[in-house]
């Protein structure tokens, strides 16, 4: 990548050569980033039997919504979708509120334990007890096979707290001073000043919470795998992929159906493509709109202390 542009070609033609090469590289990047996903969309909209013949690239050959019908008729996948949506919604709302609360307190200079509290939270970012102790904790709290396991353990995200804190700190302090002189307490100051003023950063954090919750599957796998009413989309996707990998990684034949569908019309490859699209679309729809926020959020997060 870099080697190609290091060729020294001085003179008037050089800028044009560079610009052309650079543009071509960028176009290749676009193709490489988009193609795998685009191809999956095409496969998911193609007739499943026809897909087996191969050769689907950019567009479906025989258009069919059969794969999606199968996905949405499947009871397990329906439960999984509902759970995924629920956990994403709840964790996002609670996650943002919690992060904002902690961040507000940590940003107040008059809070005496500020330094200690900041360290206290920061440590958890780098030190984790590990899988087994966590598992026993969750078990002792009675949260195995319980929906709360999706919400509570990840509720306090230290990274998000730091991002919000940096943002609140960057707000003009006269804003808060004025409020305190007017006799406003901390709770009202938090609700009426800090929260509304940090909308952009809260949007960023909301996006991160939502993406994290929507994409996680490991907690389902560890804590809730024996209760199919608590399954999530990503976990179902993982199971299908694992089955596909172990039965044969070279062909897309329909040995495994894992009770996925009754009809022999359906093939694993097509169903997987459809689920991939279902699992990815909510995020892809949201993220371009929040882009201008999260770029800012990343920057704030990087200048931590």
């Amino acid at each position: 990548m870099i080697a190609s542009k290091k060729k020294f070609k001085l003179g008037s033609i050089e800028p044009i050569v560079f610009r052309t090469v650079n543009t071509i590289i960028m176009l290749i990047v676009i193709v490489v980033m988009l193609y795998p996903f685009w191809n999956t969309v095409a496969v998911s909209l193609n007739n499943p039997q026809d897909t087996l013949k191969g050769g689907i690239t950019l567009f479906p050959r025989i258009f069919s919504t059969y794969n999606y019908e199968t996905v949405f008729k499947n009871r397990l996948l329906l439960i999984a979708s509902v759970n995924s949506v629920l956990r994403t919604g709840i964790s996002t709302i609670l996650g943002v509120i919690v992060a904002a609360m902690i961040a507000y307190v940590l940003s107040r200079p008059e809070f005496l334990w500020r330094k200690f509290a900041t360290r206290y939270f920061l440590v958890t970012m780098y030190v984790s007890a590990g899988l087994i102790p966590n598992y026993f904790l969750i078990r002792d709290l009675g949260m195995i096979n319980d929906f709360s396991v999706y919400i509570l353990p990840g509720l306090v995200s230290v990274f998000n707290v730091i991002v919000v804190r940096s943002y609140i700190k960057s707000l003009p302090s006269s804003l808060f001073e004025a409020a305190f002189i007017d006799g406003v307490g901390h709770f009202r100051c938090f609700l009426l000043i800090a929260m509304p003023c940090s909308k952009p950063v809260l949007a960023t954090v909301a996006l991160w919470c939502a993406v994290g919750a929507w994409n996680s599957w490991f907690d389902t796998f560890i804590y809730c795998s024996s209760d199919e009413n608590l399954t999530t989309l990503q976990y179902e996707m993982m199971k299908m992929l694992a089955a596909a990998m172990s039965s044969s990684s070279r062909s897309g034949d329909a040995i495994y159906q894992a009770g996925q569908a009754a009809s022999n019309m359906v093939t694993p490859v097509s169903i997987r493509a459809a689920i991939t699209v279902v699992a990815a679309v909510p995020i892809l729809v949201v993220y371009p709109f929040l882009q201008k926020y999260f770029v800012k959020g990343v920057m704030i997060g990087s200048v931590k202390e």
Binding site: M1, I2, F8, E14, P15, F18, N22, T23, I25, M26, V29, M33, Y35, P36, F37, N39, T40, G55, M101, I102, V105, F111, A117, F121, T124, Y126, S128, A129, G130, L131, I132, P133, N134, Y135, F136, L137, P153, V156, W214, N215, Q234, M237, M238, L241, A242, M245, R250, S251, V269, T276, I283, L284, Y287, P288, Q291, V295, V298, M299, S302, E305
Partner: protein, 287 residues
Amino acid sequence: MILPWMIFTFIFNYLPLTGWIMAFQNFRPGKGYWKSPFVGFDQFAFLFREQGFWRAFRNTLAMSTMNLVFGFVFAIGFALLLNEIKNTYFKRTVQTISYLPHFLSWIIVCGLISNILSTSDGAFNNLLMWLGIIDKPILWLGEPKYFWWIVAFANVWKETGWNSIIYLAAMSSIDTSLYEACEIDGGNRYRKMWHITLPGIRPTILVLLIMNLGFILNAGFEVQYLFGRGLVMDVSETIDIFVLKYGITLGNYSLATAAGIFKSVISIFMIVTTNYLSGKIEDERLF
């Protein structure tokens, strides 16, 4: 307002640390922490004699190092090139598309990888055959020698765009008069990149390096877990998978916890050392 959340964090992040006791016991879930016999460092001794553990350690280190190196090189390279694009509309489009994979879950990414690398009509094999580089499809995911590269490039694919955000932002804050001065001195595009842009983003690179070195024993999980089957297992098993296998599947909780502690200790050591070193060399500390 903060107290409830401190208690909450205590329960979910600090309380499990007491579980580290397990690593010094011969832990039986039926007996609990109080009645399981203490065995001192026997679990660690056993762990360090276990070949599978060192293999997992080697794999983890190799894959995360590759991820780190390729991740940095590609993100910085991409940011440098993108920085040279003058058309804002095109630049923004490229950027938006390059973030896209960051938001997809690893599960989905694994599914896409398995499609692309598939031997039956996989895009990568098709492309190579079309170019005449190979004459029959290669089973990429079944060959141990390709595995680390697949993991590294999966990471590059997923994270390059996202990681470049921060470099681009750092580049945009470089004083433009430096570029003008360089131009007057007769420096061309590449000199500007080498002598101004790269030194300009050096603090950013260092901070990110410290942060990432703390996670050196996290090589990712999903790709190795899903694709590590059969022959590939020898090169794919990471410490995380080792812990999962011994802890959850085989029920040897003490050994798995010991492996987890080992991992935590190394990350703390790494983060403290790199933080100290970078404070010495560059006067750039994280905490």
